[in-house]
Amino acid sequence: MTEILSLREAVAAFVKDGDTIAMEGFTHLIPHAAGHEVIRQERSGLTLVRMTPDLIYDQMIGMGTADRLIFSWGGNPGVGSLHRLRDACEKSWPRQLDIVEHAHAALAMAYEAGAAGLPLAISRSYIGTDHESVNPDIKRIECPFTGERLAAFPSIRPDVAVIHAQRADRKGNVHLWGILGVQKEAVLASRYAIVTVEEVVDDLGDTAMNETILPGWTINAVCEVPRGAHPSYAHGFYERHNAFYTRWDPIARDRKAFLNWMEEYVLSCATFADTWNKLEADGYV
């Protein structure tokens, strides 16, 4: 059953060094505040899984929390490179980062297979590409009915999924809508799940019959973190902060500027609320 915890408590309780962590959110509802907390708690040796690493993993990789990245598109959307990710790949700074490169379709299906309790996913993926030559996780199985040789790859079964959602009730039922990404799959594929939300309410009220709900028994911790997806967005609460994505580019380009920024806005802050206040005071938001 779900506990309502502070984000600090939740990360302390469920995220361990060396874990495989999926912090998901496809443009929408990216759990940035939770990423900060993992950095603050100095986790290391993590395997990070995420379709679109985004600024959240740029920061986590740059701060040395990760040994390994499983991903399918690692850029700053509409802006350019994730410079910390590139620096880790190209120059092993701050440490070597092994990468496991997938395509979106395959990685999405690997999450889905994890949620579906299967050891593998099969798909019509990687036809004629070089992925199989660098990713030993991609194999082929022959369809016993047609003879077609489909791609097969292990399902994703993280130790911990971390997502952000609009709302949860006190029993841990989580309500999210809009662009859904792979968050439901990430939660159901994982051993533990932490959900940060814009607001914890007494009662979710009448949600539409087929809206996405993750029942409390699938969630270990719910943490109320208003604006916890910034600079990503929470549909119905606030919009994507596109200017921040642009502004991140020169910060991330330079190792020292990056470390200074992380010191100022993450490490020296006790909570995401502190981060937010500083960002506000300094004209970022």
Binding site: F26, E90, H104, A105, R124, I127, G128, N242
Partner: protein, 266 residues
């Protein structure tokens, strides 16, 4: 508008986007990449193809944004969509399920068969000189959409003779090899590349992309110089019609809206 060309003062990028938009016919179902493909697809929707269905990999189906989205999952894409599905459903039911007519892609590097590299350039895979973002949705779009249009600026760095990594499959020998191994592409693959200089289409005999159309003010020589392989030129090269005033004004309204959206929440 320092790089403006022609009487109406349009840029080569605008010409490229307009030329691409004209290839999209009404009623088509398009899987749209962010950036130039998104601009061309929305321009088509707002001009000659109002019933075109635009699908973004974020799960937004039949979306009708007023400004070009900055990311593949902007809130406006969800708000103006007929429905929003999960990302696994998007790739399983809609793309792999064969429900897409045209996949519309950009690329960092492309070769003469339309193979695309968006993974790395130089060095080795383990220690690349430049690590690129990776394939995203493109590897499966390239083999599962009915056919593929690519839009990208033409330059020797982008139009190369040999790719360091094939992230997404084109046509030609690699496609044949894949089939021979029992890997089954379900679409026809890349058929058209729209650039800032003209249009390239596959030659039915060689499967190579050859120059078939030039935008006004551009020459075949210029296109060959901007291509890293020995670009063949069609016997009859067409001439692209310049952007109409209407096309230009709609395109500029779209991009102005984007700039405004970026400022509004700055």
């Amino acid at each position: 508008m320092s790089d403006a060309v022609g009487d109406l003062g349009y840029t080569q990028d605008e010409m490229m986007t307009v030329a691409a938009s004209r290839l999209l016919t009404d009623g088509m179902v398009i899987f749209v990449g962010i950036g130039l493909p998104s601009a061309a697809a929305n321009l088509a929707r707002l001009t000659h193809a109002p019933e075109i269905a635009l699908i973004y990999e974020s799960g937004t189906i039949a979306t009708r944004p007023n400004a070009l989205p900055l990311s593949i999952g902007d809130g406006e894409l969800a708000e103006t969509a007929r429905t929003v599905v999960s990302v696994p459903e998007m790739f399983r039911y809609w793309l792999q399920g064969g429900r897409i007519d045209v996949g519309f892609l950009g690329a960092a590097q492309i070769d003469k068969y339309g193979n695309i590299n968006t993974s790395y350039i130089g060095g080795t895979y383990q220690t690349p000189k430049v690590r690129l973002p990776g394939g995203g949705g493109a590897p499966e779009i390239a083999t599962q959409a009915g056919e593929i249009f690519v839009i990208m600026r033409q330059s020797p760095r982008g139009f190369v003779n040999r790719l360091d990594f094939v992230t997404s499959l084109g046509g030609g020998p690699r496609r044949e090899e894949a089939r021979a191994k029992g890997h089954m592409p379900t679409g026809k693959g890349p058929s058209t590349i729209i650039t800032d200089l003209g249009v390239l289409k596959t030659n039915l005999n060689t499967d190579e992309f050859i120059l078939t159309d030039l935008h006004q003010g551009c020459s075949a020589e210029q296109a060959k110089r901007a291509t890293g392989w020995d670009l063949k030129v069609a016997e009859q090269v067409g001439q692209t019609e310049p952007p109409s005033v209407h096309e230009l004004s709609v395109l500029r309204a779209l991009t102005d809206g984007t700039a405004k959206a970026r400022d509004d929440n700055a």
